[in-house]
């Protein structure tokens, strides 16, 4: 080894550097007790009333519990705080009573039982002025009342305005907060839910509500370690914005008394550490060096590279599952050239979904006929054929749409427009700049339409501006990933006429599709909903406001020393609470 011999300061520097390197090498690897999981973004807030991103939802599900939870493995809602799935009773044609009973062992950290009054308090908090509850207030506006019974304090009924199957899941899927801790003075109990819901925004501030909101906000703004109240298995130890979020398993958690504990109520890791690493290359190096344990949502190429390299194949374990994120291309149906379904169907034949899947996902993923995942066998319409890549058929469909192909020098497709004008099929396609998946889709479409003499201009657009141009309709076509789940079948935000100018970027609307969307949202039974969903998929394939290309896979890579990692199609794609780190082998004497 080379050691500087003549220069004393050089020797000193060398010694310092060597000792630091030794320190680095010794601290490397899995000396940590915590399971370290990569996040791309910071949660930004952990306030259960204002969850802004997936990381925030994930950490809240560890700090708190809801009445029912989605099971990652079988995609069914299962009881969490509730002892069983709720009883549902329709009252007349406009009300729905959803009755829950809480588990007898469910308790807060101080030993107090979790009661229906805590649920009623949480619902009231959603409508309490002064809190950042603008989204939840509008999501849960359908709750009319929470009826508790002092005789059976664990049993309560949520009364809903209207009747929809999604209300059952929605009423059970929010974090329950402790009334006694957050509102020891009982200020909120002086107000009924109706009073809070109908309180005018301009009403003079109520001092009691102001004090409650201030107290609540202070608790979450400062996020003091270990002091956030929750009935989940973990408590917050440290949260350093843009660095990490560290959780510790509670030594006494109520669900430990359940034998056997349901999958969603297990909490094996003693510590969980979510580390925020935005760059993929950095996260992969950290995983390989043992500075990270779980890397969810790994991009396709990196996943494949690690899976095929002998060194990493031996040290890491690889998981691939389906996801509910579907890659789509949308048409602006308010543009005269795209107003007719025949033109849209013709253009849909210019997307080579199979090759796109191969190019961007290395063959993984699922082709689809619509927005329902093929994994959802009950609702997926298998009678429909996949949209083929067929430029010849595209040309034929364009002719059906009234287009005529002109030869050079004015090569292109033309058709007569209103008032003696002429329309030319010339398109602009927008997509989020910097996204390799969407860029590939746009380039493939442009390449496929070029031989047909359909000029396509690509406009990669900055993320913030992208949502605005979609909203105002400044595009002919766009490419986007729709994120879904297997529980919500309400297409109103992005395909109903009510959503035009808000979330319905295609501006597609027909009375038949609106009626069908409304019928799906309020379908009274699974059978009728399945039938309606299949009709809906057929209608969408006929009208083609969007071209569903394929469902993305979800890839997770973990250190080989971990066991018990359950992966699934639901976000975030893995279950952190079942992971166990195998004990390190002790060297033989």
């Amino acid at each position: 080894m080379l050691v500087p011999k003549k220069n004393p300061s050089g020797v000193l520097l060398w010694l310092i550097f060597s000792s630091l390197l030794a320190c680095s090498c010794s601290s490397k690897g899995s000396s940590h007790e915590a399971i370290r999981i990569r996040w791309v973004h910071d949660p930004e807030t952990i306030n259960p009333m204002a969850l802004t991103n997936q990381a925030a939802i994930e950490v809240n599900n560890l700090l708190h519990l809801s009445l029912i939870q989605a099971n990652l493995t079988n995609h069914q809602y299962v009881p969490a705080l509730a002892a069983a799935l709720p009883e549902v009773r329709l009252v007349g044609d406009s009300l729905m009573h959803i009755t829950y009973e809480l588990r007898p062992v469910a308790a807060w950290d101080d030993g107090r039982p979790i009661l229906g009054s805590d649920v009623a308090f949480t619902v009231k908090l959603m409508f309490c002025p002064g809190l950042p509850n603008e989204v939840v207030r509008n999501q849960y506006h359908f709750i009319k009342a929470v009826i508790t019974d002092p005789a059976t304090p664990r049993r309560f009924t949520i009364v809903c305005r209207g009747q929809a199957p999604e209300y059952v899941k929605a009423t059970g899927d929010f974090c329950i907060l402790p009334a006694a801790t957050l509102d020891p003075a009982g200020r909120l109990s002086r107000f009924t839910l109706a009073e809070l819901q109908h309180r005018a925004p301009t009403a003079p501030a109520d001092t009691a509500l102001q004090a409650l909101a201030r107290q609540y906000q202070q608790g979450y703004a400062g996020h003091p370690p270990g002091q956030l109240p929750g009935c989940g298995p973990y408590e917050l130890v440290t949260w350093e914005k843009d660095r990490f979020l560290h959780l510790r398993r509670k030594s006494h958690w109520w669900a430990d008394q359940l034998h056997p504990a349901p999958l969603m109520l297990r909490a094996k890791p003693q510590q969980l550490e979510y580390v925020i690493i935005p760059d993929v290359a950095t996260a992969i190096l950290a995983l390989r060096r043992g500075e990270l344990d779980v890397f969810p949502q790994m991009p396709a190429r990196e996943f494949e590279r690690l899976r095929t390299a002998p060194a990493t194949r031996a040290a890491l374990q690889f998981y691939t599952t389906d996801s509910y994120n579907v890659v789509t291309a949308g048409f602006n149906t308010s543009r005269p050239v795209l107003a007719d379904a025949a033109t849209r169907r013709a253009l849909s034949r210019c997307f080579d979904a199979g090759r796109l899947m191969k190019a961007t996902q290395l063959g993984a993923g699922q082709r689809t006929v619509g927005f329902i995942s093929p994994s959802d066998t009950a609702n997926y319409n298998r009678a429909l054929a996949l949209i083929p890549f067929d430029p010849i058929q595209a040309a034929a469909l364009l002719r059906q749409g009234g287009w005529r192909r002109a030869a050079a020098p004015t090569a292109g497709w033309f058709r007569p427009g209103p008032a003696g004008t002429s329309q030319q099929l010339r398109l602009t396609m927008r997509y989020r700049a910097g996204d390799p998946l969407l860029t590939t889709i746009a380039l493939q479409f442009q390449a496929a339409t070029a031989p047909l003499d359909i000029p396509v201009s690509l406009l990669p657009t900055e993320a913030g501006s992208f949502s605005e141009v979609l909203r105002v309709g400044d595009f002919d076509m766009y490419a986007q990933v729709l994120k879904g789940n297997p529980f919500m079948f309400n297409f109103t935000p992005f395909l109903h006429s009510k959503g035009i100018g808000v979330g319905n970027f295609t501006r597609f609307t027909t009375p038949a599709s609106d009626r069908l969307i409304e019928a799906i949202a309020t379908a009274s039974s699974n059978a009728s909903r399945q039938r309606l969903l299949r009709q809906f998929q057929a209608l969408m394939q006929q009208e083609m406001p969007m071209v569903p290309l394929f469902f993305l896979p979800s890839r997770t890579v973990a250190d080989k020393r971990l066991s018990g990692l359950n992966v699934g199609s639901l976000k975030p794609g893995y279950l952190a609470t079942t992971i166990v780190r195998a004990a390190r082998a002790t060297p033989a004497p």
């Binding site: 807030t45 997936q54 207030r137 914005k241 950095t282 935000p493």
Partner: protein
């Protein structure tokens, strides 16, 4: 001199106020996008709860507007809707407008509230600066010292001058992200040199680490990011200073000094350096805003918190209160840095002092 400084400070203050006001008023034209981006994406049914229907989304946006005081008029005066006669009358809103509230808050140290996190902007900036200043400050000091040392050696025309200049020019052409990734892939890669940690500033859950261990851990984590910043900053400073020194060494006073028998290094250090420093002072003044604005590329690659990421994310999410705070801070530092550079010029060159 005091008068000069006072007037320059007054002008600087006015410029900062004009800059911040301009950004504030411009940001009011894009508030709808900002508020929409702080709501769940319509294309995403990722969260729990019922779907946020279009009418509810608009109601939520309106409620957000009220919470952040964005339902008030933007400025002291505004034009109302056209009357039947086609006249658009002017309205005076007094102090009940967004600009006035913002200025009043600023005067009381309240820089506003983030649209996304609901946290105070001043606190967020303070938190980010606590990470950024040690990183960029260390890099700036090391870069300046390295450039001073290297330029002084290069100015004396050693045999390695040409290859070193070639290397410096080549490195100067490399983008920061390339340098950062190369360092990462060389020094934190199990396939090459597995020496240094890849990300962050050290782990939070070591078992009761001693202060020395924490310091050593933090130092190790900062080696690569600081090196990336230093490597990209040194060439520009060195090449400029070397050229200035070589020009000074060709002047009559330098020839006289050499004729008196001084060594080349002594001529550089005691005679040429101070005169050659003037352009470098301007370059260093350029560094100062970057000290507070952070180094977003390095922060992203090495997963470090700081001003760069805070402002880049605020910009992407149209989180205008944070963005305005960041512009105010970096703008103020830039203007103060220019003032500082002028003062340094006065110190370094008596001719400028006499002329002014």
């Amino acid at each position: 001199m005091a008068g000069f400084i006072f007037w320059r400070l007054a002008r600087t203050f006015l410029a900062i106020w004009a800059l911040a006001s301009g950004v504030f008023l411009l940001s009011r034209h894009d508030l709808d996008t900002a508020l929409r981006l702080s709501l769940p994406d319509a294309a995403s049914q990722a969260g729990s709860g019922a779907a946020l229907l279009p009418e509810n989304q608009q109601a939520a946006q309106q409620a957000l507007r009220r919470r952040f005081g964005l339902d008030l008029p933007v400025f002291y005066v505004s034009r109302g809707p056209a009357s039947p006669a086609g006249v658009r009358p002017w309205h005076w809103h007094g102090g009940r407008n967004q600009y006035h509230q913002w200025l009043r808050g600023l005067a009381h140290g309240d820089w506003g509230t983030s649209f996304r996190t609901g946290q105070g902007v001043a606190g967020s900036l303070r938190h980010a600066l606590a990470f950024t200043l040690p990183l960029t400050g260390t890099a700036a000091v090391l870069a300046v010292l390295s450039a001073l040392a290297l330029a002084q050696r290069l100015a004396t025309a050693p045999w390695w001058q040409r290859p070193m200049r070639a290397v410096l020019v080549a490195v100067h052409g490399l983008p920061l992200f390339v340098v950062a990734l190369v360092l990462l892939l060389v020094f934190a890669n199990p396939d090459v040199l597995d020496w240094l940690p890849t990300y962050g500033l050290g782990s939070p859950n070591e078992l009761n680490p001693s202060t020395s261990q924490q310091l050593a851990d933090g130092f190790l984590h900062l080696i690569l990011p600081v090196s990336a910043l230093v490597i990209t900053a040194v060439p520009e400073l060195t090449l400029q200073l070397t050229a200035a020194l070589q020009q000074e060494l060709g002047t009559a006073y330098a020839t006289t000094a050499r004729a008196k028998g001084l060594s080349a290094a002594a001529v550089v250090r005691h005679h040429a350096l101070r005169n050659a420093l003037l352009p470098t002072l301007a370059q260093i003044a350029e560094f100062l805003p970057a000290l507070v604005a952070g180094a977003v590329v390095v922060e992203v690659v090495f997963a470090l918190p700081g001003m760069g990421r805070l402002l880049a994310e605020a910009s992407a999410a149209r989180d205008y209160p944070v963005l305005i705070g960041g512009v105010l801070l970096t703008g103020a530092v830039r203007l103060l840095a220019l003032l500082l550079a002028d003062l340094c010029y006065l110190w370094a060159d008596p001719r400028i002092r006499w002329q002014s």
